[in-house]
Symmetry: C2
Subunit: 223 residues, 2 copies
């Protein structure tokens, strides 16, 4: 990149950080925990949200912001679960930015507990953009291979927890969850790892407890 | 994006197009067919290259340029097949650019037939960067879901052919290859589609014939 380009990118990131800080402050004031979901296309972000909607139904109120380059498909899937969802179509842009979230924020019901933000399917660019979330989850699905953390380090370094998805496919794949977890922890020591099959509802209890704990810490002023 | 940012991006793309045109001309002069592989992380680009190395061994000479953010892993896998490979680690950048290919080009043996370029795993950004290839393949693996073409249209619009990978997993997934192909052809009418399992060596004959045909057209001056 040229010096000029580098400067513009740095300006963009600085502007984004400011917008993200304002969003984080506003959500904290409202007592809402925002969770940013990052992964490759097709790692199961929307399917995980559908499963969490079922698990959370009796205890928490959710809202979802969906980021995609094109289509309303993911928002429609989430709405079918009775969860209010806003679709942001970036029209080509490879990641969500904080200002996009800011434009939707006023329409989010005041009484929700969790705001899930499903980023554009991309294991690279979204890692550089803080959206004002409290918790960043990176998803890695078993068909993608257990060699991915070292190849896409920023996504794993910037995450608060790793969710290994599609564990129902493990019998048919060379994927080793322990190897994936170990490699991710080489990049980010102590990273919490959850292995789930959203399709079969397996492994979700631990993830639900983790998110509920983060919400409790936010509301008690400990996060 | 601001006007300034848009201008810088436009300048970058214009500079890239010029570099790509020069590479395409040089490769045409050498009679080498360059193939650019685009997909999400973990869609099976390297495994497809390993399978093609086996298929092409008796008839053609290959070389490979591997693009990754970090690690030499993919180049090592290709070299283990006896194919010369150069690893470009972008150190954070989400796509390869033509100038990166240009820097490697002089080291590519003069007598090869195919130069495969495995792009950074990312279904978004690499679509905007011409690398001077003659053929662009976009890969979509069955676990990613058959709803992806409309959500990532630029990758499919810019491709010369679609390769549906990991067909060995079809019995365990809701993926419908016909639906994926139809959706991709809504974006790009007439797009050739190949369904393969590189792991099992299934469906590769058609893809090999397609690539051999493209090489023949290049050398007879028809492409």
């Amino acid at each position: 990149m040229t010096v000029k380009t580098l400067t513009v990118v740095r300006d963009l990131l600085a502007t984004n950080r400011q917008a993200a800080a304002a969003i984080r402050e506003e959500l904290r004031g409202r007592g809402i925990l925002a969770v940013n979901l990052l992964s490759s296309p097709g790692s199961g972000k929307t399917t995980l949200l559908e499963a969490l909607a079922d698990r959370f139904r009796d205890r928490y109120r959710l809202a979802v912001i969906e980021g995609d380059i094109e289509t309303e498909r993911d928002a429609e899937r989430v709405r079918a679960k009775g969860v209010p969802a806003w679709q942001i179509t970036t029209g080509g842009a490879c990641h969500l930015e904080a200002k996009m979230i800011g434009q939707v924020l006023d329409r989010i019901p005041a009484d929700i507990d969790f705001l899930f933000i499903e980023n554009v399917g991309n294991l690279v660019c979204p890692a550089s953009y803080d959206l004002g979330e409290q918790v960043r989850l990176v998803l890695l699905s078993s068909p993608e291979g257990d060699d991915k953390p070292a190849k896409y380090p920023q996504a794993f370094l910037s995450a608060d927890a790793l969710v290994l998805t599609k564990t129902d496919l493990l019998p048919y794949l060379p994927f080793d969850p322990a190897r994936a977890a170990a490699e991710a922890r080489t990049i980010k020591p102590g990273l919490p790892v959850f292995a789930v099959s959203a399709l079969r509802g397996e492994g979700l209890d631990e993830l639900v407890a983790y998110l509920a704990g983060a919400l409790e810490r936010l509301r008690s002023g400990r996060a």
